[in-house]
Every structure is written in C-alpha cells, then in structure tokens.
C-alpha cells in the first residue's frame, strides 16, 4: 500500500521517509548508491516509471519522479511507491507555481554525498540541456529519440554538449560497436570506406555514421533501408581484404560476415529503455568517448 501526502513540502516528505525507515517500510540509506531524479511530463509518466523501477532493481537508489505540469488544486503532492520497487521511489506531482521551483523540493530530498543522476524524459530539441533540474547532479541522461525530430535534437545536443551528459541513442549502439570492434580485430586490415543503412530519422544511425567517420577518417555512406524496421539495419566496413558486413535480419538477430570466412549468426536483441538506463547508471563518470563524438559533430556543424 502506498502512502500519499497532499499539499505537502520537502520537510514533511523527509519526515515521512524517516518514519517509514524506522517502521521497516523503506530501505535505509546503507546500500543505496545514488539518487535518480526523473524529470517528466504527466504524459510520459508511465514510461518514466517503467524505467525507474527497472533501474531501481539494478541500482539500489532513491528515485524521485518529478511529474511537472499537473493540474491539482494544490502545489505539491507526493506518493511513496514502496511496493513497486526495491528502491525508494517517490512520485512528486507539481502543479502551478511550484512547477518552476521543483529544485527547491528536490534538493532537500537528495541522498547525502552520493551521486545524483538526472534523467530528463522529455527533450527540448532547441536547447536539450535546458533542463533546470540538470544542475542538481553531474550526470544528465537524455534521449534524442524521444524528440519529434531526433536528428535535430541530436545536433542541438552536440552544440550544447557538456561532459556528463549522455544520450540513450548512443547507448543503443553499444552492442553494435562491440561487434564491429571485434570484427575488425579479427580482420586486421585498414578500412577504406564504410556504409550505414538506417532510417533517416534514426539518431543512433546518425551517431554511428559520425563515430565511424571520426574513428576511421574515411567517407561513410548513409543509405535508406528498404524495409520499415525503425532502427539501424546494416553496417558495412570495406577493408583492403574485403567487406565486413553486420546486418540485422530480425529484431533479435543479425548476421556477421567477414572476408574469407563463413557468415555467422549473432544474437542482437533490441534493448528497451530500462536496459539502456541501467547501462547509463553504471557509468556515473560520464563517457569520454561520447564527449569526443559530440565535439566532432559540433565542429562539423560549424564548418
């Protein structure tokens, strides 16, 4: 059973948390490793909660779900969702003026000294870093794929990028990149050209294209797929000794062919948001390789 506080403030929320811990209804601080602040609109709330719960199971934490733009009569309501997750999940509903002062509620609720990660569910494509809650922590997670125009959002992100910010569009690529690195390790031959096939609106495809350009310094073709599958379809690296081709043929599988070797089947399941978020939460220091990529994309945009 969840506890709900109407027309409340941070003081009362903290008191309630303390009481719940004493009564054993909530995990104590020992064991918790971070505070996750989720900035979301009422529309994306359910999706945000799914991510929060899964993340809470992987990383014991206090999860503050800030739902802004509610239309309640009072400024702030809070709900303690203890039964839904191993973590301390608190839903905060902001209405009216306090919407603009959400940080004044969140700051007293952060776990002392431990890292704070902000996941901004809804992205402002013009100024993706323009999340007033980002200042609460040193880690900001956004998802350019949640924008109406993911490519524009991704580019804007690159222009305003600061270390500590990461994009779930990049997280989606980890497995693909690992396979490419391993394939090239095996072929050991200079890459002459590359090709990425994915829908034009796919931010991961665009990021991968830029990454290959940055790392390899060769032209990378971007082609549109024939099928309507929404994600990355195929990557081809043309080396001196032949082509490396990594091709998705189902939402869970891909094939990998290397020059002079039989084609192999690889498991490559599409990952869902909770999995992506969990990967991000293991990277509390940010991601230097992503910082470099953002700088590369920004400098290309300028020239």
């Amino acid at each position: 059973m969840s506890i709900r506080l109407e027309n409340t403030d941070a003081h009362e929320i903290n008191e309630t948390l303390f009481r719940m811990r004493k009564e054993g209804k909530s995990p104590g601080k020992s064991g918790q490793v971070l505070t996750l602040v989720i900035d979301t609109s009422p529309d994306s709330y359910e999706h945000a909660m799914e991510g929060a719960q899964a993340a809470g199971e992987m990383h014991p934490s206090r999860i503050l779900v800030a739902v802004r733009g509610m239309h309640n009569d009072v400024g702030l309501n809070a709900e303690f969702l203890t039964e839904r997750s191993a973590a301390e999940v608190i839903k905060l509903e902001f209405s009216g003026e306090v919407n603009q002062h959400a940080d004044s509620v969140l700051l007293p609720l952060l776990l002392s000294e431990l890292p704070v990660v902000v996941w901004s569910r809804d992205i402002n494509p013009q100024a993706p870093r323009d999340c007033d809650l980002a200042a609460l922590g040193h880690r900001l997670i956004v998802d350019s794929m949640s924008a109406d125009d993911p490519i524009a959002a991704m580019r804007a992100l690159a222009r305003t990028h600061k270390p500590g910010t990461t994009d779930l569009a990049w997280t989606r690529l980890t497995r693909w990149r690992a396979l490419l690195v391993a394939a090239l390790n095996q072929v050991r031959s200079p890459v002459l050209a590359a090709e990425v096939v994915g829908p034009p609106s796919s931010a991961p495809s665009a990021l991968l294209t830029s990454w290959l350009q940055m790392r390899l310094g060769v032209p990378v073709d971007r082609a549109e797929p024939v099928s309507t599958y929404p994600g990355l379809h195929m990557i081809k690296l043309t080396t001196q000794v032949g082509d490396i081709v990594l091709q998705r043929f189902s939402p869970i599988e891909a094939s990998l062919s290397l020059p002079g070797r039989p084609k192999q089947q690889v498991a490559l399941a599409r990952r869902i948001t909770p999995q992506l978020l969990s990967e991000e939460l293991t990277r509390l220091n940010g991601d230097e390789a992503f910082d470099q990529l953002m700088a590369f994309i920004a400098s290309r945009e300028r020239s």
Binding site: G31, R177, V181, A182, N185, R188, Q265, A267, L268
Partner: protein
C-alpha cells in the same frame, strides 16, 4: 600476423564497450562431470547472453559417454536451463549451438585425439577460429599427464598459428614435491603464461573487491598493521560433510583441500603490501613476498589443530560422522577440520598471528577474514560500563553475501553510562544488485582474452605448500584427529590452540 596493427575503432577512453573475446574454441575434458554441468556450461551460456563471446565461438565436449552431437546438445540445454544465471533466450542459444560439437573417446585412446584434432581443424576452417584453442581439464589430476601427453603427441599444443591455453583446477598437487611434478608435466606442453590455475572458491571479482577495499580507501591503511591489529582470523566453514566425495577427499583432507590454496591466498591478499600497480605481475610479486615471510611456529603441534566431524545433529538433521561415511575407512586419519597459526615476519605484521581454519559440518556456511583490533590502552570508563563491549573488529565477508562488517562500541541510551557492542554492515549485493559475474564466467573470459589471470602461478603454489608441509608432517605423526560433534565450530584442541595465545575463535 602484423603485430603493429592497431584497431582504429578501439579507444581506451571508450569504457562502455564490453571486452569481447576473439574467435576461439574451448575444449572441455570431463564435460559430463558435475562441475561442467553445474558451473562451466551455464557460465558459457551466460557469457554468450552478455554478448561476451564472439560469433563463431566453438565449444567441443570430450567424454567417454557414447553420445551423438545432438544428444550432447540436449544435455547442455538441460544444464543451461537449470543452472544459468541469466534467462534462457532462444536466439543466444541458437548462436551458441551453431558452434557446438562432441568428441567421444577415452584419455588412453589415440584415435579419439586424432578425431579431436580433425574436429578442431574443421572448426578453424568453418568457424574462422584461427587455431585459438583452450583446453579445460575438468578431470582428476591423475589423468593430467595422460591427457597433456596426448595433446602434445597429436600436435594440439603447438603455439604456431593461434594460441593454445590450458585451464587446470585445484588441487595443484598434494604437497610441495607433487606440485613441482605436476608443474613439470603441464609446463612440458604449455608455457607458464598459457596455464590458468583456477581456485573456484576465490573468483577474480572477490580478489578485486579486496584490493579495492584495501587500496582505494584512505581510512583503513593507517590501522592495517601491528600497531592496531591484535590478530587475524580467516575462516572457511561449510555446513555440509564430504557428501559423495569420499574417493577424492580421503587422504586429502581439509588443509590440502582448502587451506593450501584458498585460505593462504586470502591471507596473502590481506597481509601483502600495496602493489605498484594492479598488473598481475606486480600483484604476484607482493603476494610472493608476503608468503615468503610467512611460516608456522616451530612447535607446530601447539599452534595447529585438526579434527573429524562425529555423528551428531547439524541444523536440525541427524548426520553421520566422518568415519561412518561411505567409502571412508573407520581408521582414516584424514581431517575435516584444520586450523593453524601463521606468523609473518615483516615490520607490518610482526607479533600478529594469522589463524587459518576450515570446518566441515559447521553450524553454517561462511568464509570471512576478521581483523581483530587491540583494546584501547586507557578506558575512561569503569569496568561495569564496558562489560558488554567486545573488541573492535573489521570483517571482510567473502561468502555468502559478500560484504564488510564493522563492530564497535556504542553507548546505550539512558542515564547510565553503558557501552555495548554494535555492528555496521555493508553488502555488495544490496548496493550493486546488478548481478555480478560468476567466478567461472570471469575465468573463461580471461582465458579467451588471454588476460593474465590473478590466479596463482607455480611459485606461489610452491610457497603455499612450503608453509603447510610442516603441519601436514606433524599431523601425519600424531595419529587420528580429534572428534568434534557435527554442527559445532570444531574440536576442543582448536580452542586450546587459541587460548594459549590469549585469544578465542570468533563465532562467525
């Protein structure tokens, strides 16, 4: 192959990328054994599930059983479904099955090894595994020589054209002499950097946790020495008896089974100085240095104890004594309890005894390292105030529920000045719930990556035997070990052994 080639996609700052093994084949000897079914096969599946195995990875089972390849795959599927850590996913299984094969044969049959070679050649051709072969000898040590000789004669250990690596499990011999002999056999076929010795009690994750705790923190180092620590107790207790392992256990005993490898390694990691880096060579150097300075006291019989569990009750069940177990002779001298004191001659530890003990049929299962601190030199309290105060202690719990426990005194609320022992607990599993890889997963991946293992090399194994051999010799002369009731923490002799030094065993 061009060794100067660097992969342009690889970037050391790209910490997100998982380490993927190169193309390779793992040959499993003893694939029908318990260990393979319960640990190795599931670990291989879990690795595949994380995407840590390369496409085209090969797994060849070698066993006497008259199985077809498909029967073999069925058996594997059962052990994966029963024992894997991660959920079963059809697409991962499909990828794995594409690289599975079975070779039927016995260790003395040259034809079987000819078939093994043919199978490996076929894998290299069809799966692009490039002659990279790892041999996991999950077999009794008495068969090592035969299998390694067969591998050698059939050209399976030739390091040209792909690496060849061997994995062997403890025990590494039964005394100093036999461990040297075992090493001679193994190193005749594999260079030392290609031999991976695994102690499955002590995973790499645990070792690294210990190193991180000691060397990434400031607050423990100042007290980690003789000025503050009075003595150290390292315990590994099991609530079970020998079960069906009589054949292996009789004549080996608790000290050889557990102390020589596991507890002495834990002691080395606890007592060693800070290595220059965590490079395996630097680490090994420090461990060897501290082992070199370690020895049991001269009058061994006063500072060691052994025992055999007797009939009794363990955790609410009536259990047989060791001498009544099937396959154990009633006059067996094999010990199921072993405890000994080790002194380390160094500036850091002079005068601080390390007590190592292992117990079968103990009240419960636990492995821990406990640093017990000295009492404060002056207590501004009266005696009744501190009656309930124990000593400060810092406990590194290895298993189950790996973690850190700190015990100290706190005032009981109220007008009386009364101080009582309290405990503070950190557990890895509750802070890092993302399940950590199993020891075997780390090991298999290290082997395939060619990562120098944190597991002991031959020299360390020999140093450990050198510490233990005098104790084994003293026990061999002393007759049958003392009986202790099942479900207790050990024989009376062990209590006397600590009482002589003015200490008592912790109740873990």
């Amino acid at each position: 192959m061009d060794t100067t080639w660097t992969n342009p996609l690889l970037d050391p700052t790209d910490r997100r990328l998982p380490r993927l093994a190169g193309p390779s084949v793992l040959v499993l000897f003893g694939v029908t054994g318990d260990l393979a079914r319960k640990k190795l096969i599931p670990a291989i599946y879990d690795l595949a599930n994380h995407g840590a195995l390369p496409p085209g990875f090969g797994l060849i089972g070698f066993a006497r059983r008259d199985w077809t390849k498909n029967q073999f795959i069925e058996q594997l599927a059962i052990s994966v479904r029963q024992n894997s850590r991660t959920p079963f996913r059809a697409e991962v299984w499909r990828q794995l099955v594409a690289g599975i094969d079975f070779v039927q044969g016995t260790f003395d049959d040259p034809q079987a090894f000819v078939r093994l070679k043919e199978t490996l050649d076929r894998f290299d051709k069809n799966h692009g595994t490039d002659g990279n072969h790892a041999f996991y000898l999950s077999i009794p040590p008495k068969n090592f020589e035969q299998v390694i000789e067969q591998l050698n004669t059939h050209g399976l250990t030739n390091q040209d054209g792909g690496w060849k690596r061997a994995i062997i499990e403890k025990p590494f011999g039964h005394d100093l002499e036999s461990s040297i002999e075992l090493n001679r056999v193994v190193s005749a076929a594999f260079p030392s950097e290609s031999v991976f010795r695994i102690d499955h009690y002590l995973g790499k994750e645990t070792v690294q946790n210990l190193l991180a705790f000691r060397f990434a923190n400031m607050m423990y180092e100042p007290v980690w020495n003789r000025n503050f620590v009075s003595h150290v107790q390292i315990t590994m207790a099991e609530d079970i008896g020998i079960g069906g392992r009589a054949g292996y256990y009789d004549g080996v005993g608790a000290a050889r089974d557990v102390i020589q490898n596991h507890l002495i390694q834990l002691m080395a990691l606890t007592a060693m100085e800070e290595p220059n880096t965590f490079d395996p060579n630097d680490l090994r150097r420090e461990k060897e240095k501290v082992l070199d300075a370690a020895k049991v006291p001269d009058r061994v019989h006063l500072h060691s104890a052994n025992g055999q569990y007797a009939h009794g009750w363990q955790g609410g069940r009536e259990v047989r004594g060791f001498l009544e177990e099937d396959g154990i002779s009633p006059d067996s001298h094999t010990e199921t309890y072993a405890a000994l004191r080790v002194d380390i001659d160094s500036r850091r530890w002079a005068g601080v005894p390390f007590y190592l003990r292992t117990v079968k049929r103990a009240p419960r299962r636990i492995t821990e390292i406990a640093l017990n601190f000295k009492r404060t030199p002056h207590m501004p309290f009266s005696q009744p105030d501190i009656e309930a105060l124990g000593v400060n202690s810092l406990v590194l719990r290895i298993q189950p529920n790996e973690g850190i426990e700190m015990n100290f005194g706190a005032k009981v609320p109220g007008t009386q000045m009364e101080i009582r022992q309290v405990s503070m607990d950190f557990s890895y599993a509750s802070s890092f719930t993302e399940s950590s890889p199993e020891a075997y997963e780390r090991l298999i991946l290290d082997v395939l990556l060619g990562d120098p293992p944190l597991f002991p090399r031959q020299h360390e194994v020999e140093l450990s035997w050198r510490i233990l051999d005098p104790v084994l010799a003293a026990w061999a002369d002393a007759g049958q070990p003392e009986q202790y009731p099942s479900g207790t923490w050990g024989p009376r002799g062990a209590r006397h052994m600590l009482a002589r030094d003015g200490f008592a065993w912790r109740r873990p």
